[in-house]
């Protein structure tokens, strides 16, 4: 199962790299397929915080993409703190890397990282720094547009419940201050407001991305005996926790939609098991591939122009979210 998906991703990746290679070398030249000659000998550094499943996949995709393009990708040791990451970035700059892909320990420290990197371009992944710290073709964010995830969730729930004019929603947010948590939550609220749906958030609190915390809080919420029609979580881990809590108290998650984001293995498994009903696939491999492509483009051409998903303002390269439910969940496992 996993192999199929990897193969599919790898195929997509190769195709993507070929497209990039073609654009790099121009239309007339027949490209060998693994990037332009100019990409050879390029050194790209990958710095990351402590890995989890998703971050691991992202890292693997970056390394794989580098191999495909014939570019050296060196992965730094996992950083436990901002200090460690700053030191690591400094070493990478001193070692003469052409570009840095950084999964920041703390996105709010982006400016410190940029100052450390100097002229070396940094592509942030996974955790989005504030827009004021981004700069086109220099400090960019490669990821998925979190508001899309929120929109997908809100839309799914509303449709699933038969497009009612009013709903009671339980909302579990990610860690307070985390940009993804804020954006996904805001997107859900904005979706309903725009569509004129009267939504009461009978519970709306953070569970710190955490399964157990979400389960505990959900149980506490149940004590308030408030009615609720659906549970929207900022990520799959919390959604899985809610499903667990529901099952513990004898609620049927098949009747009350519980939705998450990320399409993690657990999340997908939960959908198959009839727990969660919906998640949004954030392509870790797609983001990794886009990150390495953008890094190569910046290192060779100095511009990210032509990269798929590049926003008009040049700050972001968006890798699209993909909605996942029982009908297509197997494609993501």
């Amino acid at each position: 199962m996993m192999n199929n998906r990897l193969k599919k991703i790898a195929a997509l990746l190769v195709a993507g790299v070929m497209v990039i290679g073609m654009t790099l070398t121009g239309c007339g030249n027949s490209s060998s397929g693994s990037g332009g000659g100019s990409a050879k000998g390029m050194k790209i550094f990958f710095s990351t915080l402590t890995l989890d499943t998703f971050k691991g996949m992202l890292q693997d995709a970056v390394v794989e993409g580098g191999k495909e393009a014939g570019v050296t990708v060196d992965v730094g040791a996992e950083c436990g703190s901002v200090d460690e990451q700053v030191a690591q970035i400094k070493q990478a700059v001193d070692a003469g890397y052409d570009a840095i892909i950084c999964n920041p320990v703390d996105a709010t420290t982006a400016l410190q990282l940029e100052v450390t990197a100097g002229d070396t371009p940094i592509l942030f992944v996974n955790s989005q720094p504030d827009e004021q710290y981004l700069e086109p073709d220099k400090y960019m964010y490669v990821g998925s547009y979190d508001k899309d995830a929120g929109n997908f969730q809100a839309e799914y729930v509303w449709n699933k419940l038969g497009q009612p004019s009013s709903m009671n929603i339980v909302l579990f947010q990610g860690e307070p201050g985390h940009p993804a948590a804020g954006l996904r939550t805001t997107a859900v609220k904005e979706y309903y407001k725009k569509n004129g749906i009267d939504v009461t958030f009978v519970f709306n609190d953070t569970a710190y991305w955490d399964t157990a915390k979400a389960a505990e809080e959900f149980k506490l919420f149940l004590k308030t005996k408030q009615p609720f029609d659906a549970v929207i979580c900022n990520n799959d881990s919390m959604a899985v926790g809610v499903v667990q809590a529901m099952r513990e108290v004898g609620l049927d998650p098949g009747k009350i939609p519980v939705v998450g984001v990320d399409a993690t293995t657990e999340g997908c498994q939960s959908i198959i098991d009839g727990g969660m009903q919906f998640t949004v696939y954030q392509s870790a491999t797609g983001q990794g591939a886009a990150a390495i492509q953008t890094a190569i483009a910046l290192a060779t051409k100095g511009t990210a122009k032509g990269i798929e998903g590049l926003t008009e303002d040049g700050y972001y390269v968006w890798v699209p979210y993909e909605p996942v439910d029982a009908s297509n969940v197997k494609d993501y496992m």
Binding site: K189, D205, T206, T224
Partner: protein, 676 residues
């Protein structure tokens, strides 16, 4: 001198300055206008951008402050909540515990209070809270939706005050749901909002995005009103639209620039706005200042440029003075090098030029003087040559005349020689006749002898007659002797004539001076011819005498014949005698023949002489022709030497003129010129 020249130079310098100013001033003015326009435009957009940035920075700062204030209070409340949760208290102790927090937070003087699912309310002592039906309260309902305390919607509390409650479920592990809450007043938030505006002249207000209620506003009458999008207030209506479309980028609404900022952890939106005229006031002020600076700068630049031009072209006027002096031919000037720019270089070069000109002129002067001298010399020489050629010409004319005379003389010689030849020819004819007569004589003598033989009788008479005859024959003998002498003379003459003619031919070969020699030869030849003629005449006379004698002899012989008839013997004797006579006559005839041969020779010679003298005459004609040509040549030479003389004269004049021109340039300093 210097004074009179200064004034035209003064005007010239002024003209350059005016010209430069005419170009520079408009350029400066246009440049400054453009600069002011560009800087105004740029400043305007920069100021507007700066104003926007300042507004955004101000609102961000304010939002952070509000957030920090809210968070600080929330933390305070959360801490209390956490301690309540951690204490695992019995409800009866709540009041005691809550009392300890009353007044601890000035922003929430009532501290924290708790309401239970069953409707019980716990507050600290000393609070002015009076809560009834807590589960119906907004804050209670909001509190049920979260465990971590958060702010809810504003509401009017029992005391008619707008407050915002932070509330959350008290997670104490019991089965009864309790909600912890704490209040902060909107008034307090309004103060923060109104006093926290960092940008001068900017205003702020706070809106709840969920119910569009204004939470804080400088105009307190607007607090707790609801935005509808049709209030007629551009900023408020615009804010409503921004919330609906979730577009919180800074924008222009009516006469205002408006910035939005979401307050983290809440659904509140902070709106900050400033009147565009305030921003533009700065721009207008800036433009005014720029214009004033522009005008002042223009004036300063014009003055400065004017001064700089004056200073820069000062050496130029000195150079102009020098050039002026140069143009009037004064090369005695010394160019001072005062500046190190192009004008200085110009001055240096003019100085060098003056030096060069000075040297050149002095060498031209020297050269022209030399030229003059030399042309004077050549003038003299040509004059001498002219004189010489003139005397040559006259000499040639003389020569020509001489040759002419020579030619005439030679011609005369030729004529004379011809005449001589003719005369000699006639002489020859006469001597031929004489010869014939001689032959007849011989015949007659022969017949006479025969007669004699017949007449042998009267010898006596014949004897006497014979005696007379002998006498006559003796006379003939004498005449023959004389003829012999004459012949000898003619022979001499012939010889001399021959020599003379040779001399004459030699002399004729020599041109010019041979003329006189020729004349002598000619006269000699003439003399000889005369002699020859006379001699011939003498011969003729003698011949006549001989005939007379012979006639006498014949008559005597007739007389004798009678005697002969008488005396045959006598005749015989007479015949014998006659034979002897006959022999003598014959020998005489031979002499005459020889003489005739000699005359023939003379004839030939004189004919040759005539031919030669004709040739001489022709040669003399050629000589004449040649000498005529020579005269012409000499005349041409004279003309040429005249021309040479004229030319060298002209050259002398030209070099004189040149010297005159060169002397117009002053190359030696005259002290008087610079005595002032």
């Amino acid at each position: 001198m210097a004074k009179t020249e200064k004034s035209p130079k003064g005007t010239k310098t002024k003209k350059i300055k005016d010209k430069l100013l005419l170009f520079i001033v408009p350029a400066v003015v246009v440049t400054i206008i453009i600069l002011v326009a560009i800087s105004s435009f740029l400043s305007k957009s920069r100021l507007e951008e700066m104003a926007r940035n300042e507004l955004e920075s101000s609102i961000t700062n304010q939002a952070d402050n509000i957030y920090a204030w809210l968070e600080q209070n929330l933390e305070n409340f959360s801490t209390i909540k956490a301690s309540l949760e951690g204490m695992d208290l019995d409800e009866t102790y709540y009041e005691e515990v809550l009392t300890t927090f009353v007044g601890s937070n000035s922003n929430a003087p009532n501290g924290v209070y708790i309401a239970t699912q069953s409707g019980k309310v716990y507050t600290g002592r000393g609070t002015d809270l009076s809560i009834t039906n807590p589960t119906d309260q907004q804050w209670y309902k909001e509190g049920l939706s979260r465990i971590n305390m958060a702010y809810g919607e504003p509401y009017k509390n029992d005391e008619g005050e707008y407050v915002i409650s932070a509330s959350g479920i008290l997670n104490d592990g019991s089965d009864e749901i309790k909600v912890v809450a704490a209040d902060v007043t909107l008034g307090k938030i309004s103060i923060i909002v109104n006093s926290g505006v960092k940008m001068k002249n900017a205003n702020s207000f706070l809106v709840d995005r969920n119910d569009m209620m204004v939470l804080a506003h400088r105009d307190s009458s607007l607090v707790s009103t609801t935005l509808t999008g049709s209030l007629g207030r551009p900023v408020m209506d615009g804010t409503y639209n921004a919330i609906i479309s979730s577009d919180y980028s800074t924008t222009n609404l009516g006469q205002y620039t408006v910035a939005f900022k979401e307050i983290k952890g809440t659904d509140w939106l902070l709106v900050s706005y400033i009147e565009n005229s305030v921003i533009l006031a700065n721009v207008t002020q800036l433009i005014t200042i720029l214009l004033i600076i522009g005008v002042v700068a223009t004036i300063l630049i014009v003055i400065l440029v004017s001064a700089i031009i004056g200073r820069v072209i000062k050496p130029l006027s000195y150079i102009t003075e020098n050039i002026h002096a140069m143009s009037s031919g004064d090369f005695t000037i010394e160019v001072k090098n005062t500046s190190n720019d192009e004008i200085g270089v110009m001055g240096q070069q003019v100085g060098k030029f003056v030096g060069l000109m000075r040297d050149m002129l002095s060498s031209i002067n020297d050269e022209s003087e030399k030229l003059k001298e030399e042309s004077d010399n050549s003038d003299q020489v040509s004059r001498v040559m002219f004189d010489a050629s003139q005397s040559q010409e006259s000499a040639m004319v003389n020569l020509n005349q001489t040759v002419d005379q020579l030619a005439i003389a030679v011609n005369e010689i030729a004529e004379n020689a011809t005449t001589l030849a003719m005369v000699v020819s006639d002489t020859k004819a006469n001597s031929d006749t004489a010869s014939e007569r001689m032959a007849e004589t011989v015949e007659i003598s022969k017949s006479g002898r025969a007669d004699m033989e017949k007449l042998s009788v009267a010898m006596g008479e014949i004897q006497a007659a014979n005696q007379e005859l002998v006498a006559s024959v003796e006379k003939v003998g004498q005449a023959s002797e004389e003829i012999t002498n004459i012949v000898g003379m003619i022979s001499e003459i012939a010889e001399e004539t021959n020599l003379l003619s040779l001399n004459a031919s030699i002399e004729a070969a020599r041109a010019g001076e041979a003329g006189k020699g020729f004349a002598v030869v000619a006269s000699e030849i003439g003399g000889l011819a005369k002699h020859s003629a006379e001699s011939a005449q003498s011969i003729s006379d003698l011949i006549n005498q001989v005939r007379d004698q012979i006639e006498k002899v014949v008559s005597q012989a007739d007389a004798s014949a009678k005697s002969i008839e008488a005396n045959g013997e006598l005749i015989d004797a007479a015949v014998t005698t006659f034979d002897k006579i006959f022999e003598n006559i014959e020998s005489t005839s031979d002499v005459i023949k020889e003489m005739i041969a000699d005359i023939n020779k003379v004839d030939e010679v004189s004919t040759n002489v005539a031919a030669i003298s004709e040739e001489q005459a022709a040669s003399a004609d050629e000589i004449l022709e040649t000498s005529k040509n020579m005269v012409e040549q000499a005349q041409a030479i004279t003309q040429s030497s005249q021309d040479v003389a004229d030319n060298s004269h002209q050259l002398a004049n030209t070099s004189q003129t040149l010297t005159g021109y060169v002397q117009q340039f002053k190359i030696v300093k005259e002290d008087t010129d610079y005595d002032e």
